[in-house]
């Protein structure tokens, strides 16, 4: 799909440079001439929003690292100093903490959009798997970042997540000591988490570049789930059409982000994390950040330690196999009436598990979590393979242009305007 560019630099220097390093031509074919399906909706803007959030997290994070001290005795005080003494420290830290939540909000919308419109199907399997890897790296990065303030919830979170590895038979205890650098979470743990929290975002950048590369080889999916057949009729140029649309969606998203930062900056944080970590006591009610709650609920729903940990990791790992679990050749849920029902049931399971993960353990929440966890796995392992065999799909349009024109009732301008 790339290679639509016939970019020729205007200046003599540009031509001299281009013949030595054709980077302007690459940028032009990737972000200007790149053909975008003309029917994509605002859900497709979340890729650009995510790219922005990644950049924002790196910029604010690098600045915070100039003031933060990764030491068990000094970390908590250094966060207080950032909040009270460093010029605009409060703003930069709130941008970073709320930025993580905004990043996850955007990635969840992005993932559910991919599921709904079948964006993981051929020829986009590798694109999807790269996305799952990014999601995993994001969770690891966010988890380690949450440990850095060294509040009591930071400490409890670090203990619980690293203790997941003690469930591994035989070597589990040794693995945990290796991760901690001691007999419990402590100073060495904090130091290495800081080092990795700084490293992983740049690994995310690397995988994001692969993700975009794979996207530009296969081309974008679209709400109809019909591949581009005629570039002239079915697509518009990335710039200005997608660029401006993405920027508009980003501005709306930034309003939400700013609202959190300036009006309710601590809404998503836990009050217990304003108390310094104490290895001798655990807060009465520990919860992870909201974006990890569904997996936490799955862990708690299973009474056996090893089985619970296996289920937690399986819930994430299974996502990478969705392209092969879904046997239906039809991509978009628009033409899959049964899939559409199960998709929304799956969304309810995920959100419900998230809610239950935030509640204190009782018999009722445990049983509800078991039902919803069953639904989560059943959708991925049973429903996706089965629907491809039994579902009667609706007739699909012959092309993207046909679908658009049928809706608008006449020829539309963008493709001609090019």
């Amino acid at each position: 799909m790339s290679g639509n560019s016939n970019y020729v630099p205007k200046s003599a220097f540009g031509r001299w440079f281009e013949s030595r390093l054709p980077i302007m031509g690459l940028a032009h074919s990737s972000f200007v001439a790149y053909p975008v399906p003309r029917n994509i909706n605002y859900l497709w803007a979340f890729g650009a929003i995510l790219a922005f959030m990644l950049a924002a997290q790196i910029v604010t994070g690098v600045v915070l690292a100039m003031h933060y001290v990764p030491s068990a005795t000094l970390a908590f005080a250094s966060i207080e100093r950032i909040m009270r003494d460093v010029n605009y420290g409060w703003l930069i830290r709130y941008l970073h903490t709320n930025g993580a939540s905004m990043f996850f909000l955007a990635v969840y919308i992005h993932i559910f959009r991919g599921l709904y419109y079948g964006s993981y199907k051929a020829p986009r399997e590798v694109l999807w798997v790269l996305g799952v890897i990014i999601y995993l790296l994001m969770m690891a990065t966010a988890f380690m970042g949450y440990v850095l303030p060294w509040g009591s919830m930071s400490f409890a979170g670090a203990t619980v997540i690293t203790s997941l590895f003690t469930a591994i038979p035989l070597v589990g205890g040794g693995v945990a000591h290796w991760l901690w650098g001691g007999y419990a979470v402590g100073d060495p743990t904090l130091n290495r988490f800081f080092s990795l929290h700084y490293l992983l975002p740049f690994m995310i950048v690397g995988v994001v570049l692969l993700h975009i590369w794979a996207l530009h080889v296969a081309g974008q999916n679209n709400p109809e789930g019909v591949e581009v057949k005629n570039v002239e009729r079915d697509t518009v140029a990335f710039t200005p059409y997608a660029t401006i649309k993405d920027l508009f969606a980003l501005s709306l998203f930034l309003i939400l982000y700013a609202w959190f930062v300036f009006y309710i900056p601590n809404y998503l944080l836990d009050a217990d994390n304003s108390v310094v970590a104490n290895p001798l006591s655990t807060p009465a009610h520990i919860v992870p950040e909201w974006y990890l709650l569904p997996f936490y609920a799955i862990l708690r729903a299973i009474p056996d330690k090893l089985a619970g940990v296996v289920a937690l990791f399986a819930a994430i790992a299974l996502l990478a196999f969705v392209p092969w679990l879904d046997t239906s050749p039809v991509k978009s849920a628009k033409y899959r009436p049964l899939f559409r029902i199960f998709f929304w049931a799956f969304v309810v399971c995920c959100v419900g598990l998230g809610y239950l993960g935030s509640q204190e353990v009782s018999d009722a929440t445990t049983w509800a979590a078991r039902v919803l966890a069953f639904g989560y796995f059943a959708f991925l392992i049973v429903v996706l393979p089965l629907l491809g065999l039994i579902e009667k799909t609706k007739p699909m349009p012959a092309s993207i242009a046909d679908a658009v024109l049928a809706k608008k009732g006449g020829p539309s301008a963008p493709s001609a305007a090019r």
Partner: protein, 197 residues
Amino acid sequence: MAAHRRGRANSIFRPTGRRGRLGEHLSSAAVENPNRRDFLFIATGAVGAVGVGAVAWPLIDQMNPDASTLALASIEVDIGAIAEGQIVTVKWRGGPVFIRHRTKKEIDDAVNTPLSELKDPQTDQQRVKRPEWLIVVGICTHLGCVPLGHEGPYGGWKCPCHGSIYDTSGRIRQGPAPLNLAVPEYAFLSDAKVKIG
């Protein structure tokens, strides 16, 4: 071009003139009649593998507990001031250890529990050196939280994280934890002093 070059190299280094790709170096003919290139290929690979391992191990092992952490192996605690029924938490190896001065009822509850009710069967006698003193590592065997004392239906401990319940002998009774609270190595130095570790 590359193939051409390799062909020429073969004609210099391999008098037999056999044109082999890299993968064919270990073919039966080559094994029976190894030449200098095969030797260099295998020797370089072997040294490379050892070298990667020799560099990787320090990079992995540096994360293990260091010498200063290992040195903090034991502590001495004065238990004379701990009242009956009281639980005191002390820090050992960076984590909590519970020292519980058990009441008569708590001891009886622990001793009279049939082993068939236990997930990780151990008698109370196996877990204490003196019945009135229970000394256990205060880390839930599920995912490492610190359980709260005098909580739960057995009056032992309850973990705030995932609801594991322990009895007055620190044995797991309900919830996801698989094992009893660990008993550390300890010795009574006198009636009022215990050494942990």
